[in-house]
Symmetry: C3
């Protein structure tokens, strides 16, 4: 082939090297604290194997020997995660290296000690998914295939690291889950037990969201901020809503704002747009999505709305 | 590094082993019928190679030798799928092993005999995608890159297995497609020929949905249940709608309920929320999405709505 | 196992071979111009490594030797991309092979010369993501994990190839990004600098969309066509909207139609459905999403709407 001549290639490389210096915001050269995204995802999968033993390994686990399997996994997780946490905290940077590295080790050990508790939480999440979905065949199916369960698993792992003060790594983990599931939960969100997201594509749960126990979300739900035009000046401010226990939010609904509290047992109907608080045990739905019907030329208007939504006591 | 001491590690492992017993709902140890999710996805991809020969292999297929290639693929599919179906049916469990295993073999053979028919269906789906999208360059582009085609391919494979009574495996397959495309079609859904989903992210098609021929869905469409609060008590009940032939459903529309029938040739507008039946040849749209305009302080209200939707005869 | 008998297998293979001839629209046998989807995705990732040096390699890059790394990457990209472009242009077909192949080489060289400029654009996109999101920790986090940045990176790569007249390959690239992010941007769309998509799942940007500078989109936004029932007869027609500089479009909004122009600095509220032009510096929102509240039997109606949307000056 008529390839680029050596001289042309040199010119091109030179102009790229120049660009690497000029736009250094998107260059990561000579960095001692370079994160390894693939490894972080692999760590996430190893932790998932510890949490759901026997589901995702490529071999059958036996009760007589599972301790060796788990022990080795934990050793790998500790080693690799400590390395990545150290980099995320820039231990190889200007800081006192030793102190920083010890802090990274402490964080990882604290994280590992939380694993049995994470299993408690996840057992409840799996149960919530099975109980809440008539299409669920059994809990194994839920574990093998439900995107909502995958997303909350990764989120609970990432949230522990977030609470322990680890930067960047939690978000890489949750965006990995977002890639696979279309469910975008920020690692900062606080989520109670027995949580279920059905279908899930398009769900957004913002950084400062607080969610109680036994909450169920459907696809396309946003728990978001009223406005983020303030950009970085809003960092740390509670911008996202609070959902109390036993809340259900149907598909496509948006609940926005840091002062918005959805009361206990409230039910938010499909596509509702909520920017202020809702009392306990209240059902909110769009009243008036008036529909227009046109059959071969004639136009009729009918207020169909979500009346059914209020009359469906038997099913709810 | 200051690693966990041996004693600490032992304590952690012990507490995890305890948790494996206590929360056995998310443990899969000593299981003889452990499904292999990765293998199920690989089987799905092998079937896709049989259905679309020459598109996804890493070599060029030649007409003189393609029979050997297909024969070998089929042999692998038969072997691996029979193993997985046997596990899904718990053939290694309390049941009479032999009978169960023979049933698994029969199912896989029935499935394989359906492949030529699946190709007929998929040839029409590809044609529907090409015909329906002005941005489609040719049918090869559609096969290589359209998520809607990927999703319906996996769904048609999974649906055959579902109809043959295979548990779990079909759902693992469709959730694999959901991961990649954002299109969530339950393997139980019955879908007619010449089906096209454009863009597709956020589409949900529930388990008991029935769809006729030549139906087109856009991104974010839900064909769902009115309420699933009944959870497992609703299993098997028709909870999702029926769409007759030649129906179009625009982006973001929701059609809910097992008694809801969308008549032949009906067109459902964007974001419509439908909970009762729509007659044949009817166009339904939201009448009144009144918009408010604010320009530097003044507020004007204008009923813009989807009027255009009713006046776009030339394009529709 | 009771496998398919040799004769049965032969019958099945024969019926598949027959189907390969009958439904040749989904067969790709004896093709000299067979694209390799996996290789195209790998090329895309190699280009991303050139554009974001040091982020996605499995080794640390050093300033002293980065030129060799980049040079080798470019050589690989040139070789593999030229091969794929040649196939996409059907150089091994009826055309004068030599001329076609030279054209493929020229295209790839033109593409490579655009890489420094692509870096300029992407540096601004990354900055826009960081500036626009209070949850962003730093620009590295944005590069490692933000789906909007991944999607616009792949789109800018694919758009260059699209402009240079390469068929099929650009769409395979953007659908790869769509798979991972839920963001579906057609390679034909023209997008200005400092572009940010937040969250992103469900975003659709059509082929003939034109977007100015400093535009921000949220999840679920559609920049689409009014109707595509015309199918292939509409190819090449401007069917998608134009957004001028400094436009913000909040989640779930749809802006449709080739004549629709959103004026400079306009803000489109959540779930708005826009089918005609909007003047400069105008805020548009749904006026009347009236909500119905039901607390234990009583029903109250309240016009909650998006009033807040108009009163949030401090934050915007």
């Amino acid at each position: 082939m008529n390839k680029l001549q050596a001289a042309q290639m040199e010119t091109l490389v030179a102009s790229l090297l120049e660009s690497y210096e000029e736009h250094s915001v998107i260059s990561n050269i000579d960095s001692d604290n370079r994160l390894n995204r693939e490894m972080i995802i692999q760590i996430c999968e190893m932790v998932r194997q510890v949490l759901f033993p026997g589901y995702f390994e490529d071999k059958k686990l036996k009760s007589g020997t599972v301790r060796y399997h788990v022990g080795e996994l934990l050793e790998n997780i500790e080693y690799e995660l400590t390395k990545q946490v150290g980099k995320a905290m820039e231990c190889a940077g200007a800081q006192a290296e030793c102190e920083c590295r010890c802090r990274a080790e402490e964080i990882v050990q604290s994280f590992l000690y939380r694993l049995p508790w994470l299993r408690e939480m996840l057992a409840k999440d799996v149960q919530a998914a099975y109980d809440g979905d008539p299409a669920a065949f059994n809990t194994d199916e839920v574990i093998f295939s439900y995107p909502g369960v995958f997303a909350i698993t990764v989120n609970r792992i990432a949230h522990e690291l977030h609470v322990l003060g680890v930067p960047m790594i939690p978000r890489i983990m949750t965006e990995y889950a977002h890639n696979l599931t279309g469910i975008d939960i920020h690692p900062g969100a606080t989520i109670g037990e027995y949580f279920f997201i059905d279908h899930g594509t398009g769900v957004v749960v913002g950084e400062t969201t607080v969610i109680g126990k036994n909450v169920k979300l459907y696809q396309g739900v946003t728990l978001g901020a009223l406005s983020t035009r303030g950009g970085q000046t809003l960092r740390g401010v509670k911008r996202h809503p609070t959902l109390m226990d036993n809340v259900t939010v149907y598909s496509g609904a948006s609940i926005l704002g840091g002062d918005t509290v959805i009361g206990e047992g409230a039910v938010i109907g499909s596509n509702a747009f909520i920017t202020s608080s809702v009392p306990d045990h209240t059902r909110v739905s769009i009243k008036n999505p008036e529909l227009q019907f046109k059959v071969r030329g004639s136009v009729q208007t009918q207020e169909l709305g979500q009346e059914g939504f209020f009359n469906r006591k038997e099913n709810d």
